[in-house]
């Protein structure tokens, strides 16, 4: 447990010192959302209609773009192999890094989402559901993404490949996330959507670190 916490503290300290990553993800989120009114027109009714989907798609892309740094920097300077020698099972090391990734990207995106929802004229009924789906769903993005990040570690310019691997796996999160907000906006029961989303995240917690650990081990050989 001490090692686990030490890794999280280390990664958070590095994120603060090196900065930028969280800020970039947020700016990317904001910019992508801004593109939509410019692309489909400023009509408030249309924007309100597409807001949940736009917010989720933009958040998903923003979370994905920051994935390639999840292991890459540590892989390149030898820290990753040192971490695996800490005596902690590799899947737990991966989980620690996933938690840091969520704290530095998922959480800020979650906090920024309501502001962007206002810009998109989203219905007031949907705000609680937006926060809730993001809270439940963004950890799954970090968890699933870690597999892609680990698989593309040894690939030069792996960013594009990473998106090809990860985006299809993100589809269920997107669907349940958006349908939860849609249900709330239309005055329907959002609970089944939220429960399914929660089921995804809960299932991903043991499975994803395990698969990502297998990929990390492979890339170190």
């Amino acid at each position: 447990m001490n090692i686990f916490l030490a890794i999280i503290t280390r990664d958070l300290l590095l994120a603060v010192r090196q900065g930028g990553a969280t800020f970039l993800a947020l700016v990317f989120f904001l910019l992508t959302v801004t593109l939509f009114p410019l692309g489909i027109g400023p009509e408030p009714a249309i924007l309100a209609r597409v807001a949940p989907g736009v917010l989720w798609v933009a958040a998903l892309l923003a979370a994905m773009l920051s994935l390639d740094r999840l292991f890459q920097a540590d892989f390149e300077d030898g820290s990753l192999e040192q971490l695996t020698l800490s005596g902690l099972p590799i899947s737990l090391i991966v989980l620690a890094k996933i938690i840091t990734h969520w704290l530095t990207t998922g959480l800020p995106l979650l906090l920024a989402a309501p502001v962007l929802a206002i810009l998109l004229n989203m219905d007031n009924e949907g705000f609680a559901a937006l926060l809730l789906t993001m809270l439940i769903g963004t950890p799954a993005l970090s968890l699933i993404g870690a597999i892609g990040a680990a698989l593309t570690l040894t690939v030069r310019r792996g960013g594009v490949l990473l998106s090809l691997l990860v985006l299809p796996l993100y589809i269920p999160v997107l669907i349940f996330g958006v349908s939860g907000i849609d249900a709330a906006v239309h005055g329907l029961n959002a609970k089944p959507h939220l429960l399914l989303l929660a089921a995804l995240t809960v299932a991903a917690i043991p499975l994803c670190p395990w698969a990502a650990a297998a990929a990390v081990k492979l890339s170190l050989e």
């Binding site: 001490n2 030490a6 590095l14 090196q18 192999e81 005596g87 170190l220 050989e221």
Partner: protein, 206 residues
């Protein structure tokens, strides 16, 4: 006692070596020698469980390492080609961070900096260090938290004479405390009494 029996290594569908045996007893050192490409780095990585041996077994006091790889990893320090030093952190932060990640109850960060003569750089971010100072920061990990087995892969790269002397002293002190050392090096490290393991380049077979 750390032993390897019948170790074989394959890299990229190619056999590097087969049937390798070695023993490192407490207080002893084992030096790997041989031309480039004969598998010194691979053998050290196998000993660190970073690489899987194609054949053979590693034992720690007679018990197969594969039974508890995490326990084995916690018993060793590995110095590879890369320094695993973060430019955004100071020298002290780098060393202390690794000591914490090794879950040591006995943090020797200050002693480690003194041992490698980098105490005066303690608060300098490592991105401003020279290659030699960078290397010393990496080597200071060895002293900052205790581990019974040191696996050193060309540890003296980019070190000056003074730096090499620091490392020699650290190794001597480690062995005096019954520590084990396995090193691939072509530089004299005060290991005159070490066993030599000569690796031969393998003939190609299909």
């Amino acid at each position: 006692m750390f032993q390897g029996r019948d170790i074989a290594c394959e890299r990229g569908e190619r056999r590097i070596f087969t049937g390798l045996n070695f023993t490192v007893a407490p207080g002893q050192a084992l030096v790997l020698q041989g031309p480039n490409g004969c598998g010194k780095t691979s053998l050290i990585r196998i000993a660190a469980t970073l690489l899987k041996a194609a054949d053979g077994a590693l034992t720690w006091n007679g018990i197969d390492v594969a039974e508890n790889p995490e326990g084995h990893r916690a018993n060793l320090h590995y110095i590879g080609h890369q320094d695993a030093v973060k430019g955004a952190l100071s020298v002290r932060e780098n060393i202390a961070m690794w000591a914490r990640i090794r879950a040591t109850t006995d943090d020797q960060t200050e002693a480690a900096m003194a041992a490698f003569d980098i105490a005066h750089l303690a608060d300098t971010p490592t991105q401003y260090l020279s290659a030699g100072q960078h290397r010393r920061t990496a080597l200071a990990r060895l002293v900052a938290s205790p581990a019974k087995l040191w696996l050193l892969d060309e540890p003296t790269v980019s070190l000056d004479q003074a730096g090499t002397a620091c490392l020699q002293q650290a190794i001597a002190a480690h062995r005096a405390k019954n520590g084990m050392v396995m090193a691939a090096t072509h530089i004299e490290l005060g290991l005159d009494d070490a066993q030599i393991l000569q690796l031969q380049p393998q003939l190609m077979t299909l």
